[in-house]
Assembly symmetry: C2
Homo-oligomer: 309 residues x 2
């Protein structure tokens, strides 16, 4: 599904939100952990089962009000093969619930190896007589340190399979500037240069709404950067992490959208992970799933007020 489809989902729900599925033991309700451990013992399998139940419940609690999820691959890989199986099942579940599924894997390698990653995450793999699809994600995040050799196989698979990618441009973490903010000899900054490279590189893949198949990750923690990059990358869809636990607010991210305040803003999706999936930890009593849904709804309301008016 192209970014046109993601934009349709966002516009229909009036919710430009992506729920970040970044499970850790501390974020999972004790009842789910206990049930998994009593079934599988203390093991990677038990944790993987608990992560799966947790994420399935979050999908069920938010799929009618939120258009997308972002699955953080690291927390599943941390549990070995059992965790990777759970990640696959969660992707399938979110897709079946009608959500746009982004795998936050930040992969990148030389050409043939990047092609293997792209096939794994977004495509299908031909094995002798059969074609299998290890995962069923709509999009994946990609790291551009190796240049376009690394991005090209991802874009090719995205075009062939009707998928998309998000390339890291300016990340939300405190040390992102150590490389990304360096000033080049011509005066441009590294992330500006990378933004321009990505906008140009994918230009021919633009869909009906004008967005190419190569989006960009630009952190919410640098609002002035969002505004500047929105101007410099008019055809690029933005994935914006950093709202909530990392400190950015709904009004910080309005600048990520085309036509913010117009009622028909477009071109960005805002990720919140701990702020939504961990909301039950700060809400007193009640069903934990209600607290998660309430947090997704609250962020949606804040973004409606800041972005769509």
């Amino acid at each position: 599904m192209s970014f046109d489809i993601l934009q349709e989902k966002i516009s229909r729900l009036r919710s430009p939100i992506c729920v970040g599925l970044d499970p850790t033991d501390a974020l999972i309700p004790q009842e789910l952990l206990d049930a998994a451990i009593s079934r599988h013992g203390f093991s990677e399998k038990a944790l993987s089962a608990a992560y799966l139940q947790f994420c399935k419940a979050i999908i069920a609690s938010t799929a009618d009000i939120v258009p997308a999820v972002k699955i953080q691959s690291a927390y599943f890989e941390r549990l070995g093969p059992a965790g990777v199986s759970a990640m696959k099942a969660i992707g399938d579940e979110a897709k079946a619930a009608g959500m746009y599924v982004i795998c936050d894997a930040k992969r990148g390698d030389i050409g043939p190896t990047s092609a293997a990653y792209a096939e794994a995450l977004l495509g299908s793999v031909k094995l002798g007589g059969v074609t299998t699809a290890p995962y069923s994600f709509d999009s994946a995040t990609v790291n551009p340190y190796l240049g376009t050799d690394c991005l090209k196989p991802f874009l090719e698979v995205a075009v062939r399979e009707d998928k998309t990618i998000f390339v890291l441009v300016k990340t939300s973490n405190p040390s992102s500037g150590e490389l990304q903010d360096l000033e080049l000899s011509g005066g441009e900054l590294v992330y500006e240069k990378m933004g321009r490279l990505i906008e140009d590189f994918a230009a021919e893949t633009a869909g009906a709404a004008g967005f190419t198949r190569a989006g960009a990750v630009i952190g919410a923690t640098y609002p002035e950067v969002l505004a500047k990059m929105r101007r410099q990358m008019p055809k690029t869809f933005f994935l914006v992490p950093g709202v909530g636990a990392q400190g950015a607010t709904a009004s910080d991210v309005a600048a990520a959208f085309r036509g913010a305040g117009s009622g028909t803003a477009s071109g960005a999706i805002i990720n919140s992970s701990r702020g939504i999936i961990g909301a039950w930890k700060t809400a007193p009593g009640g069903d934990w799933k209600d607290a998660v849904r309430a947090a997704a709804r609250e962020l949606t309301e804040q973004l409606r007020a800041a972005v769509f008016i």
Copy 2:
């Protein structure tokens, strides 16, 4: 195991080689594919079983003459959870055979997420009452686009678990220069800046032989870069891909070593993947494993002549 241990293995075998385990269907002897498919049908499981048998045979054929392997994660992830299980088993097998095991995963993320990757690849994971180790790699490759937030958790786990990392500095692919060769406003190039950052960042972790626990990936395809970076990064161990199928020769990489030509050269390991594991395809008849061993031996001889004299 620190780089002191890797250097001991290299010096003892007089072989500064790393066998790159980058399996693809085309590189696997038909007999192994047929056996796996007749057992598991056309499936990810069959391919994973064939990759496992292939890599185990390569380890058995080279462990007494080569000190290290580099496992390319992408080709295993491409086969989903079954492939990831095979990768784990291959890592265990190489370790049991006495080899230094590098996982080429090129991971990198914001702090807490990088910590999850580091624990997965190099460390152990605490799950309720038990501690498990999903993999058992000695080292992993890391992408520095997000800055030191991303590298720090990897270095911490490496110090705690007596492991190492290799950070991408100048990669071997044709488009590596699009970002890595950009000139900064002070005149330095991006990869020089990253090299300096990594040399300084890990300075306190230097072992007896003077190498820190944060190595650098510097491609063999740019020999003049190898020589320059060897001078600028005296405490950093180099992982050098690009020999063989990517076009670089043994004499191209001599500059990667400290004291090349002295008989006691140190500080680098040269990776060859297709040139070794695919050698049987161009050798007529005979046991495919003999062709693989002969190719590893030939590259060793070439490097002895170019590096150790």
